[in-house]
Symmetry: D3
Subunit: 140 residues, 6 copies
C-alpha cells in the first residue's frame, strides 16, 4: 500500500492532505475549531492528528465510517474523562450517518461496561449536541 501511495509524490504530504480532508468530512466545524486551537500550542501535535489519526487510521478500509464513529463514541464513554472529544465525536457520528437513536443506544449500552455515571454524563453531552443542531432526543 505504501508503494502505491508514494508513486505520485510525497507520502507525508499525501497523509497530511488526506487527513485534513478526512477530519473535515467526519468532524465538521467542531473538529476544525479544536484543531485550530491546538495549532497555537502544539502545531506538530495537530499535524500528527491529521497524519496519523485521520490520514492513517480513519482512512483505512475494512470498517464503514458509521460503525467507526459509533465505536469511537463507545470508547470515549468508557474512558470517562474525554468530554471534549465525546462532544466532537457524537457530532461526527451524526455527520457520517448514525441516527440520534443509535448514538443514545451505544451510550446506554456502555452503562453495562463502564458504569452508569459514565453513561449518564455522556447522555447529557449528547443532549447538548442534539440541541445545537436543532434536534430533539429520540423517544425511548
Amino acid at each position: 500500500m505504501a508503494d502505491e501511495e508514494s508513486q505520485n509524490g510525497n507520502p507525508d504530504s499525501d497523509r497530511l492532505a488526506r487527513g485534513k480532508a478526512r477530519l473535515a468530512e467526519i468532524t465538521g466545524r467542531s473538529g476544525a475549531e479544536v484543531m485550530a486551537a491546538l495549532g497555537e500550542i502544539a502545531p506538530d501535535f495537530a499535524r500528527y492528528i491529521f497524519e496519523f489519526g485521520y490520514g492513517d487510521i480513519y482512512s483505512r478500509p475494512g470498517l464503514d465510517l458509521r460503525t467507526r464513529m459509533l465505536s469511537t463514541v463507545a470508547g470515549l464513554v468508557a474512558l470517562g474523562h474525554a468530554e471534549r472529544e465525546l462532544e466532537v465525536h457524537i457530532g461526527s457520528a451524526l455527520n457520517v450517518g448514525a441516527t440520534r437513536e443509535e448514538v443514545v443506544e451505544v451510550i446506554m449500552q456502555m452503562a453495562l461496561y463502564a458504569g452508569f455515571p459514565a453513561a449518564l454524563d455522556a447522555l447529557f453531552i449528547a443532549r447538548k449536541v442534539f440541541a445545537e443542531r436543532g434536534l430533539t432526543p429520540p423517544q425511548g
Copy 2:
C-alpha cells in the same frame, strides 16, 4: 425460581427468559461458562446480567447487534482492564456477523483514544480468540 415467576405473564420471568436466550445467541459457549461460574458465587448477580444486561439492554431495538458488539469491543478496549469480557465479546462480535477485519479495525482505532498499550493487549486477545476458532488473523 424461574419456573414460578414465569407462570402468569410475569414480566420479570419474561426478562429472565429473554435475557438467557439473548446471551446464548450473542456469546455462545464462552458466555455460558462465565455465567455458570458466576452462579456459584453470586446467583443474583448472574440473574441481573441475564435480566438487565441481556433481557433489557441487549434486547433493545434501535441498533443492530453487529454494531452493538463492535461498540462493546471498543468500550472494553478503552477500559483497559476487562480482559475476560474482551475475550468473550470479541467472540460475540464474530458470532453476530462482524468479520475478523472489523474486529481488528475497531481495536486499532482505540489506540487513538485509549493509547497503544490498551490496543496492543486487545490485539493479542483477538489473536487467541481467532486461533481457538481456527481462524487466521486478517491481512493488513
Copy 3:
C-alpha cells in the same frame, strides 16, 4: 423474596415503584433533579436506573444503607471522573445517616488507593455539599 413480589401483580411496575421510592429516600432533591433532566434525553435509561439501580440493587437486604452509601462514595472517588454522582451521593450518605466526619474519612482513605488528586477533588466536592446544607466541615 421473588414470591412476595410477584403475588399482587406486575413485578416490573413493582420494581419501578420500589426504585422510585428508594431513590427519593436515598438521594433526596439532588437525585430527583438529575433524573428529571435524564428523562428528557433518555427516558428508558431513567427507568433502568429506577428499576435496576434502586429497585433491584439498592433494595437488597444484606448491607445497611449507611455502609452502602459510604462504599459508593469510595467507589466514585476511585473512578476519578464521576463528579456529578459524587456530589449527589455525598449528599445521599448524609441523608441515610453517615456523618460529615465519616464521609471525609472515606474520601481521605481513597488517597491510598486512587491517589491524592482523586481524593483532593472529592474533598472539594464534599465541602460544597456540606456548605449547601449549612454544615461546616468536621474538624480533624
Copy 4:
C-alpha cells in the same frame, strides 16, 4: 494531636510500630507476605505503607474498621486493575468483622458505578478468598 504523640519518644518510630501492628491486625498473613516481598525491592516504600498507610490513615478514629475495609473493597473494585490488593483486602474485610454477604453486596453494587466487568472480576477474586478460608459463598 502531634503533640500528644510525641510525648514519649520518637513519633516516626511510633508511626512505624503503630502501622505494623495495624497492618497485621487488618490484613493478617496475606498482607505480611506482600510487605515482605516489597521489602526486597523497595524497603522505604514498605516503610511508607506502614507509617502513612497504616500508622496514619488506618489508625484514624472517626470511621469503624469494618466500614473502612468495605469502602476499600468498593474503591479497589472501581479501580479495575488492583487485583492483588483486592484479594488482600477482601480478606481484610472478613478479618475485621464484615460478612461474606456484605463483601458480595459491596462488589455487586459497584457494577452500577464501574460496570459489570469490574464487579465480575472482583466476585471471582472473592470466591477464591472465601474458598481459601473454607467458606462457601453466601446465598443470594
Copy 5:
C-alpha cells in the same frame, strides 16, 4: 536515615516543616492556594500532603527535581481526570527548571500511552499555564 532525622528533635515536625518548604519551592503560589483551600475542609489531609507527599517523597534523593516533575506531569496526563493537579504541576515543572518545550514533549508523548484526548486536554491546560506566566508556547 530515620536515626539521623530524629537526633535534633521531633521527626514529625521535621517532616511537616521540610514538606512545607519543599511544596513552596516546587509549586509556588498555585500550590499554596490549593493547600489553603484544603485546610478548610480537611486540615489533617493537608498535613499528610505536606508530611508524606513533600516531606517524605519529594524530599528523597535519587532523582533530580526536574525529572520528578516531568514524570509527575506524565503520570497526571495518563490519569486523565486530574486537571487541577496538572495545572499546578505543569507550573511546578517550569519552576524547577524544565522548559516549555520539555513540558509539551512529555505531554505529546503520553498520546502514545493514554490516547490523544488525554494529551489534547493537557496541552490546553499547558497553554493556560504558559499564558498566565506571559510565556508563548514553544515552536514545534
Copy 6:
C-alpha cells in the same frame, strides 16, 4: 522540518526505517519480541508503532531519552493496566541510561498520584526486570 526530511527519498520509508532503529535502540530485545508477535496479528499496527511511535514521537528533539523513558514509566504506572509495556519500558529506561534507583523513585512517586496499588504492582515488575538483568534492587 518535513521539507528537509523529504528531500532525499520517501518520507514514509524514512519514518519506518528511523522508527525501527529507534525502537531497537530504546527497547532492545524485549521490544523486538513484542513487535514480532504483533506483526502476526496486525502488521499495519506494528508499522504504525514503528512509524508514528518511534519514527515520529521518539525521534523528536527537545527532550532527552532518559527523561522520555522515565516519564513513560510514570505514565504507564498511572494507567494501572499496562503491565506488558511497563515491563518493556522499565527495561528501556535502563537501556538509555536511567539507574535502577531512578526507576524505583519514579514508581514510588506515582503512589501519590495513582495510588499505592498501581505503584506496588509496578515495583514487582521492576524487581523482575532487574533480576532478569542480574541486577539487585537499589537500596533505599
